[in-house]
Amino acid sequence: MEMEDPIVSIRNLALAFKTDVGVTKALSDVSFDVPRGKVTAVVGESGSGKSVTANCIMRLIQPPGEIIGGEINLTTNDGESYDIVQLDAKDPRIHELRGGLISMVFQEPMTALSPVHTVGDQVSEAILCHRDVSKAVAWQEAAQMLQHVGIDDIERRMKMYPFEFSGGMRQRVVIAMALVCNPELLICDEPTTALDVTIQAEILTLIRRLQSELSNTVLFITHDLGVVAQMADHVVVMYQGRVLEIGSVRQVLKDPLHPYSRGLLAAIPGLNDKRERLSTIASVVGDRDITTAHPLVTLKDGRQISLPASEIPEHLT
């Protein structure tokens, strides 16, 4: 989908892990846009490359991983534009990027937080890293943000340590930390996977509320199609390091074109009648080799798909 105003535009991104036993391609020819002010979901199973794509945007790829080709073009709200891939490792813009322009919410709030610093210190540290303000101001702003994400009894809680918080509360702290510098792009990498369904619902509702209030852009990485349906405006389906289908949430979830997207939906339990066997990807995809690369084709209805021309319905070409 050629978006009019993408905040991030990824083109032909390729990532490889070079090890003693050979080179593993983690991403091949990944191209998609992240439209400004919208929620874009990247959905796929383990090994599909959704998390490493996010790490590429944050320039968090460490050896033996290496970006071997492609561009990640960032256009800030001020109109400044550059290719993240080309930034030198010592470029000050990387520091500005991480936690400033772009910030990230991780899956496991306990590992994302330091166990030996108080919650208040950790959230204000994010401010002190990026702005030239006094500790007292940072503390005050941290308190406001923590209240904003639904933490009450704030002065006492800020002096507590993460282990004294429940899983849902910790994730609220991580979200506060991510939002406190008012990032233009928020990347959420499976932020609710480790949480109970009731807490997940609370966190999803919170992220949605904050997104509409702060009107920032969200890139939401998940394997859960229920979460995609509730959160996303646009969906990117990935499999084995490639993009298979891009479209609006309705296009992809209500009328999926790619057999793999159809397979993913059919494998969700609880939707169809009980005692009906669950479809597996293999039973939906059949003998088709979906690992073979087909370039993304843009269809009439705006979605993009990676399929041989013969398999695309005629009325859409």
């Binding site: 383990s46 619902a201 609370e202 394997h223 229920g226 309705r250 979830l253 397979g263 939906l265 339990p269």
Partner: protein, 271 residues
């Protein structure tokens, strides 16, 4: 409904005086799948462990219909329990942590047979080949180590280990939670096929309500160690009576974008 094979009465377990499981009562019937759902900390795993006597409950009884007739699991000594352990087996959540990385697949699956005194090597080999076939693992898997397998294949190894002694009751503790949705679908289908083929009874502990809705016949909903609602699966899902069940169900994000997520408020319900 068929005969009961497990009767749990008044079961409680306290940790430091705090009830983890409190006064739980239920029957389990042959060849059914009973779901046990609840949030983390609701006591569902502790309940399963009490029934297996992996831990000893503080109060209550669990009577089990073994091959030799009814027995009270909690009145038995460890030694008396050994033969019964053949009949009750468990499939764990994490297919990475529950398999010993230094044992081959053959050693892992055969171990229960050796523990339970199957001395004849040829008989063990025969049982092993049968069970591999049943869980759809290739025969050449036997000589390999767990690291060589994907998550779904490892879970098949765990299922083979649980089933090789031909138990009548299998406790699945979050057995499909760690798997990708497509692999999860394969394992759920496998568990259902095995149930039909072998007449297994499942106790299915899970936090994923969609999985429970698909696989279970009846369900117990647990909250703070107590069973707050129990019943036929469709009845409980379509017409929940308790606020806590309603809260759980309202929190499931639907994969249909036209059904918006509208979770109930825990505090407003006083939970």
């Amino acid at each position: 409904m068929s005969e009961a094979i497990l009767e749990v009465r008044g079961m409680s377990k306290f940790f430091d005086g705090v009830p983890a499981v409190e006064d739980v009562n239920f029957d389990l019937f042959r060849a059914e799948t009973l779901g046990i759902v609840g949030e983390s900390g609701s006591g569902k795993t502790t309940l399963a462990r009490c029934i297996l006597r992996a831990i000893n409950p503080d109060e209550g009884t669990a009577r089990f219909l073994s091959e030799g007739g009814w027995v009270d699991l909690h009145a038995m000594t460890e030694r008396q329990l050994v033969p019964l352990r053949r009949e009750i087996q468990m499939v764990f959540q994490d297919p990475f942590a529950s398999l010993n990385p230094r044992m081959t697949v053959q050693e892992i699956i055969e171990e229960p047979l050796i523990i339970h005194g199957f001395r004849n090597r040829r008989e063990r080999q025969q049982k092993l080949l049968q069970i591999l076939d049943l869980v759809q693992l290739a025969q050449d898997s036997m000589t390999r180590y767990p690291h060589a397998f994907s998550g779904g294949q490892r879970q098949r190894i765990g299922i083979a280990r649980a089933l090789i002694l031909r138990p009548s009751l299998v406790v699945c503790d979050e057995s499909v939670s760690a798997l990708d949705v497509s692999v999860q679908a394969q394992i759920i289908n496998l568990l259902e096929d095995l149930q039909h083929e072998l007449g297994l009874t499942y106790m299915f502990v899970a936090h994923d309500l969609s999985v429970v809705k698909h696989i279970c016949d009846r369900v117990l909903v647990m909250h703070r160690g107590k069973v707050v609602e129990a019943g036929e699966i469709d009845e409980v899902f379509n017409n929940p009576q308790e606020d806590y069940t309603k809260l759980l169900l309202s929190a499931i994000p639907s994969p249909d974008p036209d059904i918006p997520l509208d979770p109930l408020d825990r505090h407003a319900l006083g939970l």
